[in-house]
């Protein structure tokens, strides 16, 4: 890969194509996890690649390329999410049938949701997270949904471990409050 990077810096188009294809799965995975509601994932991925190519000369090679690219992708997503000024409050009427059933289950029992409810759970949690600010949303996605450790979040975001812990605690508290409010709400 270092040889490929050198060739890209010298203007070799084949090397640039190779680099794009190598990094695309990583970039698109991050973009999908942190995509703003009204943005196409391909557009955001393109913005990320523009930044990668534009700043390639600043990459020193001390950290793995994937770490450097992850940080660029995450920061680009945060910026795009920040541009979404409106963070709507979730209501029952906004939920699909499966999401409403999952919510009913959570409200009525103490048991885990069935495995076949996982997609509905994912949709529901994403709708709830749309009400959070981008950094809170990011920390919940990385830690609670992707199961990443504090060290990994530190590597991806550059935040200190103390900041990550505090942000994760506060983000979960906000999410819990939003979920409880939704569960108490009158159904239509």
């Amino acid at each position: 890969m270092p040889a490929c990077l050198d060739r890209v810096r010298k203007g070799d188009e084949d090397a640039a194509r190779l680099l794009f294809q190598h990094l695309y799965p990583l970039v698109i995975k991050i973009v999908r996890s942190h995509l703003p509601r009204r943005m196409a994932e391909e557009d955001l991925a393109q913005t990320v690649f523009m930044k990668i190519f534009a700043n390639l000369n600043q990459y020193s090679g001390q950290a793995p390329l994937e770490h450097w690219v992850s940080r660029i992708a995450v920061n680009t997503c945060i910026k795009a999410l920040r541009a979404e000024k409106i963070r709507p409050e979730l209501r029952w009427a906004d939920l699909g049938e499966d999401e409403a059933q999952a919510l009913d289950w959570l409200a009525s029992t103490d048991q885990e949701l069935a495995p076949d409810r996982s997609l509905a759970s994912r949709d529901l949690i994403e709708k709830l997270m749309a009400g959070l600010n981008p950094k809170d949303r990011l920390v919940i996605t990385l830690m609670s949904l992707e199961g990443r450790s504090i060290q990994e979040v530190n590597r991806i975001t550059g935040w200190s471990q103390a900041v990550i812990k505090v942000r994760a605690f506060r983000a979960r508290a906000k999410l819990r409050k939003a979920l409880e409010k939704l569960m108490k709400e009158e159904r239509p």
Binding site: E13, F20, Q21, R32, E42, M50, S121, R176
Partner: protein, 99 residues
């Protein structure tokens, strides 16, 4: 409150189990757009040279303007000093001639 078994904890655990679509191969259109932008950034077009040339011309014009201002200031300052000496001589002559 037991945060592990509260509704949010159960919802997050369930959501984390949801299968994620594997990233597909890069779409050709995205690849082509990204490489096109990279290519245009790699090879600056003629307008970049024009902008650079205009910038240099503007800097030169500023230097000439400042130099000419400084030169004129010196000339003006010099003439003002000379004018003062003549005024003193004129006043001396006038006092000598007038009764």
């Amino acid at each position: 409150m037991n945060t592990e078994n509260d509704p949010l904890g159960r919802l997050l655990r369930s959501a984390a189990r949801a299968p994620r679509p594997e990233p597909a191969e890069a779409p050709f259109a995205t690849e082509a757009r990204c490489l096109a932008v990279w290519r245009s950034a790699e090879r600056p077009d003629s307008s970049d040279y024009l902008v650079a040339w205009l910038r240099r011309a503007a800097i030169c014009a500023c230097v000439v303007a400042v130099a000419s201002l400084a030169w004129n200031y010196r000339v003006l300052a010099g003439s003002r000093t000379g004018g003062g000496e003549l005024a003193v001589a004129d006043a001396t002559m006038r006092t000598g001639v007038e009764p």
